[in-house]
């Protein structure tokens, strides 16, 4: 501690400590603690707060699982399905992003040289200067029934009837994959870039076909980057709101949309908090699973 003060001087040290404290407490601990607290309470009218009904309860979580007591269905199928679909679709989006980004990242990091690689990175970043909402609407235009893709396929004579990409959720998956693609490319790029190219050549020289080089040499080396990219894309997909709102089919909900409804139109913060906590836990489970599967530590992911 004294070292820290001596190294950075009193003013800067105090500032750093306060900033970190503020960040951790105000941005991370307090809001989540509030949410957690909310999630175990009843949705009360203002005049009931502090009254006899103001007690802790698990009812908000029970609602997600079983629905309202006395419902004919045993479970709350509607919300559980949305939850599961959100998780599975996010995993799918993550895998899709990985499959798309790994070759690109490998190419930029190991094959392309110098200025060429830099211009490719720039090309990747450029679309993200346009804001998220605008990009989502652009995808609507691309994928709509009378959109660019359908129009093209119809003029080419490949399709007779337009395909409803929005209803089929193709637009949603494409939009989500596209929205978080950089968060996959950069961790992968960073990880692959640090691999000594001689190792790739050594594997090749020992007779290895290209897929085994990737499986045994490149991917093991890039594991922290893969884990970091996958967890980022998964969490942001599962927590996305704008893209599902704009690109989701009329009948398909994203779990965040339900949370949003609880907070907003439903006005039931307690219920919304419980749902949000469940989503947060699902994300944590995903991160821990990925860390376990890839045998990487949190420190390596953050690198």
């Amino acid at each position: 501690m004294r070292d820290f003060f001596q190294r950075n001087g009193a003013v800067i040290s105090t500032y750093l400590l306060l900033a970190v404290f503020f960040w951790v407490v105000m941005m991370i601990v307090l809001p989540q603690a509030y949410m957690l607290n909310f999630s175990f309470r009843h949705d009360l009218l203002p005049n009931q707060i502090g009254g006899p009904k103001d007690v802790y309860t698990l009812s908000n979580y029970e609602y997600l699982l079983f629905g309202r007591p006395g419902d004919e269905e045993l479970f709350n199928y509607l919300h559980l399905t949305v939850f599961l679909r959100t998780i599975i679709a996010s995993i799918f989006v993550t895998l899709l992003d990985f499959a798309l980004c790994y070759p690109i990242a490998y190419y930029i990091a190991q094959v392309a040289k110098g200025g060429y690689a830099r211009s490719m990175i720039l090309l990747l970043i450029l679309p993200f200067w346009v804001n998220e909402i605008l990009r989502a609407f652009a995808f609507r235009i691309l994928f709509g029934t009378s959109g660019v893709i359908n129009a093209f396929l119809q003029t080419m004579g490949i399709l007779d009837e337009p395909i409803d990409f929005l209803r089929a959720d193709v637009a949603l998956y494409a939009g989500l994959s596209y929205a978080y693609i950089l968060l996959m490319v950069f961790p992968l790029y960073n990880a692959i870039e640090s691999l000594d190219h001689n190792q790739v050549e050594a594997a090749r020289d020992l007779g290895s076909p290209w897929w085994r080089i990737h499986w045994r040499v490149v991917m093991p080396h890039a594991k922290p980057g893969i884990a970091s990219g996958c967890t980022l894309v998964f969490m942001l997909s599962a927590g996305a709101l704008a893209a599902p709102q704009i690109l989701g089919g009329p009948s398909s909900l994203w779990f965040t949309q339900i949370i949003y409804q609880w907070f907003n139109t439903g006005g039931n913060w307690a219920q919304g908090s419980a749902y949000a906590i469940v989503l947060l836990l699902a994300c944590l489970v995903f991160v821990l699973t990925v860390m376990k599967v890839f045998k990487v530590s949190l420190g390596e992911i953050a690198r």
Partner: protein
């Protein structure tokens, strides 16, 4: 499979730049062959062309008589040991060695058995389960060799594999490499900028400069019968004397230099009137007594005691000193710094060569 390696008029260009020019030689099956030359002369480029990582711009590479054009590095009967070894740090030592077998679909038990045999060969018998990072420099070196040998290549290519080691270990590994080569009996193609390594290990050496193979021969041939000024000055130490050929006598040529008329072997058949360089090695010179031929009158500048021998520096032509060395046999000649000295050499120990670039120290 017979594994002679032929370079047939091979030229390699990177854009406008010619990295290897018209390399033309044959390396015999089972030979320990070295490419020796200063850094940047194109050695690695030749090795990469033999291993298949790049294709010659002109000419061809043949292994066992077969043109290798279009055959990738994973399909050639060669194994390359990289300058930085390029071991796989995330695999155990044994898995590194067995990687080539894994690629070939050899089962796990068999792989482990072969890896253990190779570990014995490189005297690391019980270290198979270690991580690569737990090994010392010399051990990593040997693991890289074992990993390459595991795929039973017909030709082993080594790119300055000892350059990262310290002097003692380097000298030890020289002997070891040579011994391994003799045990496995396959062709070794070795790259180095260190003439000591090339001379001690190789059956034959190709001396290179600026992409051109200057001379191919045994160690004694390139040392004793250097064919170009570059080879004479790069392999071992040599004293050059610039001059003009004024006559030939039998197999000798007479050259007029700044130190008078000197005689040397006319190995390149030079004619009177041509500019020439006469080379005399430090150990071929001695202080002259009486009126010997090939006498150089100069001035002692300083001397260096090196233990087993003794170097004396004399004022040469221009900025370069003349170096002579004498073995330390107990009674060293007496002289003073700054005093004039007469040194001489035998004509059969001097070479008369066409003027050419000399290696800079």
């Amino acid at each position: 499979m017979s594994a002679d390696v032929e370079l047939d008029h091979m030229t390699i260009r990177f854009g406008e730049f010619t990295a290897v020019k018209d390399a033309n030689l044959k390396i015999e099956d089972g030979e320990f062959f070295s490419f020796l030359g200063p850094s940047g002369c194109g050695k690695t480029t030749i090795l990469r062309a033999i291993s298949g990582f790049l294709e010659p711009t002109e000419g061809e590479v043949r292994i066992g008589g077969k043109n290798m054009k279009g055959i990738g590095p994973n399909k050639r009967p060669t194994a390359l040991i990289f300058q930085n070894l390029a071991l796989f740090p995330l695999m155990s030592v044994a898995d590194n060695i067995a990687f080539g077998l894994e690629v070939r679909g050899v089962g796990k038990a068999e792989r482990r058995k072969r890896a253990d045999e190779l570990l014995d060969l490189i005297a690391l018998g019980d270290q198979g389960n270690k991580k690569v990072s737990e090994l010392s420099g010399g051990q990593k070196q040997r693991v890289a060799i074992a990993r390459a040998l595991a795929v039973e290549p017909a030709v082993l290519l080594l790119d300055e594999p000892l350059s990262a080691l310290d002097l003692k270990l380097r000298q030890h590994m020289r002997t070891e490499l040579r011994a391994i080569q003799q045990r496995v009996g396959i062709t070794f193609i070795y790259i180095t900028h260190d003439q000591g390594e090339a001379l001690t290990m190789s059956d034959r050496i190709a001396v290179m400069s600026q992409g051109i193979i200057q001379q191919v021969g045994t160690g004694t041939e390139v040392y004793e019968n250097s064919q170009t000024a570059f080879v004479a000055s790069f392999v071992g130490e040599n004293n050059p004397f610039h001059g003009k050929v004024v006559g030939t006598e039998g197999s000798d040529a007479l050259v007029d230099t700044a130190f008078g008329r000197l005689r040397g072997r006319n190995v390149r058949g030079m004619q009177p009137g041509q500019s020439a360089m006469l080379f005399v090695r430090p150990e071929s010179m001695s202080f002259a007594n009486g009126d010997a031929e090939n006498v150089i009158e100069s001035q002692v500048l300083h001397s260096e005691f090196e233990g087993s021998f003794f170097s004396v520096f004399l004022r040469g032509e221009g900025a370069k000193d003349i170096v002579m060395s004498m073995t330390n046999s107990g009674d060293l000649p007496q002289y003073q710094e700054g005093e004039s000295a007469r040194v001489a050499f035998k004509a059969e120990r001097a070479l008369v060569l066409p003027v050419g670039d000399v290696a800079d120290e």
